[in-house]
């Protein structure tokens, strides 16, 4: 019988919360070898293998179909995969790892509350400042979809930011940001505000299934999904 591979986050709160859910689902996960091993198995199920990966790698492996299931944030799935819905199915929303991907601008931009306001500012930016409006983000794809497809805003440039994105506007590296926030406190501390229609995605940790044809006839796939859902 073929092995079913489930990719789980390799560290931190996400790892603990995911393990707890699998435990409650009757699929207790144990590390193979020592505690820090990146391979695991499910007690009593020799046909299930656990791969501990970083959250963004999980999105990639789901997209490539090299794992059957993964637990990761919806933001990383939607950012990491083209045509995400054709490649994966969200089998369960797990109720932890809540975070929103948002458009945030400096609080002092008193005239900007909506994407339409931002569109006005972006349209004039080049004429006023000799450059396009700059957005610091690591979410290239989500930003493009939200700005271009949903709000018809084309005239901006993305500045890649891999960390401390909230600091970019005050530091002068960018004008605004698209970033993830859970409580909003970091945004507030950096004097940024979320636009009223600036929530791009309400993300949380999900059990994601790679769409593979062999899953259709595999009863174990359905069982895993049901077990995890019953543990929520």
């Amino acid at each position: 019988m073929s092995i079913i591979t489930i990719a789980l986050p390799s560290k931190g709160r996400m790892k603990e919360d995911a393990s707890a859910i699998f435990e409650r689902a009757g699929l207790p996960i144990v590390a193979v070898g020592n505690e820090r091993s990146y391979r695991g198995k499910v007690e009593g199920h020799d046909d299930i293998e656990i791969a501990f990966l970083s959250a963004s790698e999980i999105a990639r492996e789901i997209g490539a179909g090299t794992v059957d299931f993964g637990v990761t944030g919806e933001d990383l799935i939607r950012e990491g995969l083209i045509d995400a819905d054709a490649k994966m199915e969200i089998a369960a929303r797990l109720g932890f790892g809540h975070a929103d991907v948002v458009v945030a601008v400096p609080e002092i931009w008193l005239d900007v509350d909506t994407m339409a306001d931002l569109g006005d500012v972006a349209a004039d930016f080049r004429a006023r400042h000799g450059r396009r409006l700059q957005i610091a983000t690591k979410y290239w794809r989500l930003t493009q979809q939200h700005f271009s497809s949903q709000h018809g805003i084309q005239l901006y440039r993305i500045v890649e930011s891999l960390g401390a994105t909230e600091g970019a506007p005050a530091a002068g590296q960018a004008d605004i940001i698209v970033d993830i926030t859970s409580t909003g406190s970091t945004l507030k501390a950096n004097h940024l505000k979320i636009l009223s229609d600036g929530v791009i995605l309400k993300s949380e940790a999900c059990l994601v299934r790679a769409r593979k044809s062999e899953h259709e006839t595999d009863a174990r796939v359905k069982k895993i999904v049901e077990a995890v859902r019953s543990a929520l």
Partner: protein, 369 residues
């Protein structure tokens, strides 16, 4: 570049360009990416092939010719007017069709006789295609950004709304959305009591308040938007939200956008529209008429050219004429006037510009059929 890959009619095409008095120009295949992303927007990023130099400069495979030709013109400082002809490979990530294909075209830079230069561009594209695909029906469609801008301005909307409408010209879904917003009453904007109080005061106090807050919160006042800019737009926005397009103005705008007719009838129809609506469309109409007559003088049959009022391109460097030549709904040539592009790319003075490009892969298919 392996010559055997070139479309078999490449030689004919280059002869056409030469006969039309253009100078052949070539540009490097590897280009700095920034000008393309700056001009066309970030959306282009997933449609081009990007790479990086060792020093971290963002480079791309040439996705089109207009920007490289304009940059080369500025670099060479050869003076204007100049007409360039190009033919070469371009590279784009496409869902359908190859990722590398040939484009050719003419860029006419610095010709101040705008109407005749426009007419020549449309005529060149249409004639070259007629020669390459003889005996087949080609559809020529023409639009004019300047006429739309004149209509919007004549309607007397606040500046902010004019900008929004003009910016979305050519993006019909977005434009419809804007018109709907304009037609319905605006929700009052949620200004805090302090802010309302500040707005009631004079500009200087508002600017000083913004400046002080920026200093207190560590936002430098020169790198991004200035207190003056924020204050000015805040006032403008107040007038924006209070604006509601009255029914007749909205009907006029909608009526204008639905205009579609043979170009031969368009000047009269536009003049009639302006008269009936009581709008003064000024020089936009004059240029439109002059272009149409110039096209006729060049021997074009204006009954066979379609004018569509809503036809435009939502890029901020297009300023007037836009046109397409297509066959069976496949666009074989696209062109237009981009008077703002040269200064955006770094030219020291305004250089009027008009041009078109031919999609050689589609022309090849059309010839085969």
């Amino acid at each position: 570049m392996p010559l055997i890959n070139m479309p078999e009619f490449s030689g004919t095409l280059l002869d056409e360009f030469a006969a039309r008095g253009t100078a052949r120009i070539d540009t490097p295949v590897i280009q700095p990416a920034a000008p393309f992303l700056d001009m066309a927007g970030e959306d282009l990023r997933r449609r081009i092939f990007l790479t990086e130099s060792e020093t971290g400069e963002s480079l791309c495979l040439r996705p089109e010719f207009t920007i490289p030709v304009c940059l080369r013109h500025i670099e060479n400082a050869t003076g204007t007017p100049r007409r360039y002809g190009y033919l070469g490979e371009v590279f784009r990530q496409r869902r359908e069709g190859d990722n590398e294909f040939y484009q050719a075209g003419i860029e006419d830079l610095g010709e101040t006789a705008v109407a005749t230069a426009d007419a020549r561009a449309v005529n060149d594209a249409a004639q070259i295609l007629a020669n390459l695909i003889p005996g087949r029906k080609l559809d020529v469609t023409l639009g004019d950004q300047a006429v739309f801008e004149a209509v919007v301005k004549a309607l007397g909307l606040p500046g902010g709304w004019q900008k929004r409408l003009i910016q979305s010209f050519g993006n019909n879904a977005h434009l419809r959305q804007l018109l709907m917003t304009l037609a319905s009453p605006q929700a009052p904007s949620g200004l805090s009591p302090e802010l309302s109080a500040l707005l009631a005061k004079d500009d200087a106090a508002l600017i000083a308040h913004i400046d002080q807050t920026m200093q207190d919160t560590g936002y430098s006042t020169n790198a991004s938007r200035s207190p003056r800019e924020i204050a000015a737009r805040l006032k403008e926005k107040q007038s924006l939200t209070q604006t509601r397009l009255d029914g007749s103005a909205l009907a006029l705008l909608t009526e204008f956008l639905s205009l579609e007719m043979p170009l031969s009838q368009a000047p009269v129809a536009l003049a009639g529209f302006a008269d009936a609506a009581g709008l003064a469309l000024g020089s936009a109409i004059v240029t439109f008429e002059a272009r149409a007559s110039a096209m006729e003088e060049l021997g074009m049959d204006l009954d066979k050219v379609t004018y569509r009022a809503a036809f435009g391109r939502p890029l901020d460097y297009y300023t007037g004429l836009v046109f397409e030549v297509s066959r069976d709904n496949a666009v074989l040539a696209g062109g237009g006037r981009f008077d703002r592009l040269m200064t955006l790319l770094g030219a020291n003075e305004d250089i009027p510009a008009v041009g078109f490009s031919l999609w050689l892969d589609r022309i090849e298919q059309a010839r085969a059929r």
